[in-house]
Amino acid sequence: MNEVIDPRSVDRPNSYIGKSVPRPNARKLVEGRGQFVDDIVLPRMVHAAFVRSPHAHARILRIDAAEALGMPGVLRVLTGKDLEPHCEPWVATLAHLKGMKSAPQRPLPIERATWAGEPVAAVVAESRAAAEDALARVRVDYEPLPAAVDMETALAPGTPVIHPELGDNLCFQRVNETGKVDDAFARAHRIVEATFHTGRHTGATLEPRSILADFNRASGKLTVYHSTQAPHMMQSVFAKHMRLAEGDVRVICGDVGGSYGIKVHVYPDEVAVAVIARLMGRPVKFVADRLESFASDIHARDHRIKARMAVDADGRILAIDVDDLTGIGPYSVYPRTSAVEGNQVVNLVGGPYDFPNFRAKTTVVFQNKTPTCQYRAVGHPIATTVTEGLVDLAAEAVGLDPVELRRRNLMRDDSYPRTSPAGMKFEGLSHIASLDKLLAMMDYAGLRAEQARLRERGIHRGIGFASFIELTNPSPFMYGIGGARISAQDGCTVRIDPDGSVMAATGVTEQGQGTEAVIRQIVAEAVGVPIAEVRVITGDTLTTPYGGGTWACRGTGIGGEAALQAGLAVKAATLKVAGAMLQAQPDALDLVDGHIVEKRSGQARMPLAELARIVYFRGDTLPPDLPRELMQTRHFITKEYPFAFTNGVQACWLEVDVETGLVTLLKHWCVEDCGRIVNPLLVDEQVRGGIVQGIGGALYEHCIYSPEGQLMVGSMADYLVPMAAEMPDIEVGHVETPTKESLLGAKGAGEAGTAGAPAALMNAINDALRPFGAKVLAQPFTPERILAALGKVPARWPAPAPTVAAGSPAHGAGSARAEGFWTRLFGRRGT
């Protein structure tokens, strides 16, 4: 019986699942009355600032703090040696990623700095300004060392090995293979081949990374106010590496000013702050400034992917073969590791399509740049760019419309459950229904006609598509089986209070997605109270059930199901008490809109507040052996499927100015199937925000490095992010295929936009450039790169052109053509 979440029930009292209910915590945010970490001021609080390495790779010979210590307001200067006795180093590997290796990392390095921007010493002062003043007076003698910067040469002889004890700069390598790939290419009608680059970029959260750590020497307890996505994980990390009991560490996560994966990692400067707080016995605050955010927040998506696809004469995909290379900086990032992004690429390439032969290799290498790790839609935009880029090349090669080629190859909606060639288990997806809905929303035929008309006037518009899958609701197969103390289960406690109001404490966290709103809707409906009666507590390891937090699109699917089950349990417990009070069978009663009612007639029998008053204050009037458990906790973990996959398709409509190379985005569409939608308003804004974040990486954002390993973008004036004027209106539609793993049926919704947008945008640009035979495959698609593809300016980077062949070029042949900067499409021969 699925009564609780049947969307047909949305018009009965206190039915909130499926409705666009505003967020309860939004009012304080629009009045500037939220509380972010930097808004918290504690007695005797001091401020940390960090001396950061100016070299990509250097030996630290000596740190002289004497002059800095003489500056006004300066209290301490601490180095790696000072912190070493008080903090265990960490090594970020996962056991299930076979052969993965990384080096021990400390809050501050002792011997060597390994990227420009790595923190090497901390200054603690009475104000942040005083701490910053003193940074310049800390004298660090460095011996610059040769740096391994270019990921393409990371494994080449002669490249410095960053961690000699590891033997080489290889972090992880994996080949994922199914079927007979070489045979398929040998008998292909057409082979398309291309090399894609997804530019290294970063999250640029508007609120920088922020932490305020307070250690009470008398109680021995560490309290950390942290802008994070995973308070329980951080509790475990602080406890383990500072040698504290988990119970002596409390992590409090209030309002978080954007995270997108950036704030789910362990950063050495943040651990240093916690250690320093313990050493000093007073609160220490650190808030990164914008320059240090660019140099020390994790980066992501620094991939070069050689890829090819074999198709038959009908445009059926026979095989996909992918060789991915990614540079992750000098350390794998703790505790999720920096191999997961590459691993996702080899798991997700080809994801929407039905084809038999698959090979994907990822090679993850160390380099002297800022570490990379999981960022919104981890690996998805890369896999989708490669897949959808190949699909469009294949459509062109066999003379099919890109929509038709997709329709011939997408997994059919009635073909589930099934397993993809990459080994992903799909419970139920809706690629074809999503595509049909998208085409209707966008008026595809009309747009094609408009495109043709405008081309005659020298206006070049393009339409690009991207089907995608999105991995959500992860089980322990993501991290737990690899040994990481990252919870895949989550819990919720629901309590009825004496006034009949309801408290829900959840292990999932809020960073603006609307977690509190969604939990509130679910609990209100499950218990049977008006939504205004529910208040939600998140982000505190002391007061919420143990859980993983919010990442990998698990908040609603995992945390929401726990809330639903806890709410239903409270309702059942309440009706048991009500039955005793009203001399009725509990199952003849219901709890609706805050009243105990007769289920059959709907007649009100008693307000919930009256029941609660009696339970809490006049328990003597109830039967002695009657259970009165008006607080229930439930936990949820997925069991049958390692992940619940969301799917969908996006389309992008844009114009390319072929004289300037500027791209004007005109419209973007997305149809997403995230299963049961709890709050359509919030889901749509997750999709829209995600799309724009994907557009950012595809069009503007780039962490550019000099050959010496210096980050060349240090402010928001030179690292461009999407702003309102350049972004299009975005239409969002839905298909709902609930997961049967849970009663709620919700899958994740937050990363799909980012997963598909870059690919749709790339295909649209290349569609606009089609009359010129030009293509861009390296993100970000800057005006310069577009003009280079058009042959109007020289190219400054290797941009091998995509190729189409009738034969079977040896794998990796794309690199032999890397000197060809001009886009060319050749070899339209054969039958």
Binding site: V41, A204, T205, D255, V692
Partner: protein
């Protein structure tokens, strides 16, 4: 660095006098000296717009204005604009339309949007996008913000919102 300047100014309608370091910018003054935490620091380069406040009726980047230059000025922050109710309808539209996710950019975004609606009561979507293009929002993708500003303009002009 240590030069101190005495200033007396009006902040959200209240007179305040402080001795400030010459280098202290307006955001730090509001946050650290007055405890007004609604104004946020985003980049301190004048690019992101998170610290947008009103000085003598005009919007400014708080990180690019020195407190020492504000003797005699009138400063309005999100707290003040909330308490007077001046932008209540705009705030309600932001909540209703979910035009605010993490909320970090929101105070600056609201003050910039209010500035637009004072100057151009019936802006087009393109004008709204243009006016807001100095305020960075990483969460929403801007569409909902544009909707909320547009709806507020319509309501103020006596038309039903979408």
């Amino acid at each position: 660095m240590s030069t101190q300047v005495d200033i007396t100014l009006t902040v959200n309608g209240e007179r305040v006098s402080r001795r400030v370091e010459a280098r202290r910018h307006l955001v730090d003054f509001l946050r650290l000296d007055l405890g007004l935490m609604g104004t946020h620091t985003g980049c301190e380069h004048g690019v992101c717009g998170a610290c947008t406040v009103r000085v003598d009726g005009r919007i400014v980047r708080g990180c690019l204005v020195l407190a020492a230059s504000l003797d005699g000025a009138s400063v309005e922050t999100i707290e003040g604009l909330s308490d007077t109710g001046e932008i209540r309808d705009l705030q309600e539209a932001f909540v209703a339309r979910n035009a605010c996710q993490c909320g970090y950019c929101t105070p600056g975004m609201l003050i910039t949007a209010a500035d637009l609606l004072r100057a151009r009561p019936q802006p087009t979507r393109a004008e709204i996008r243009e006016h807001l293009s100095g305020n960075y929002c990483r969460c929403t993708g801007y569409h909902a913000i544009v909707d909320a500003v547009e709806a507020t303009a319509r309501r103020r002009n006596g038309k039903a919102g979408p």
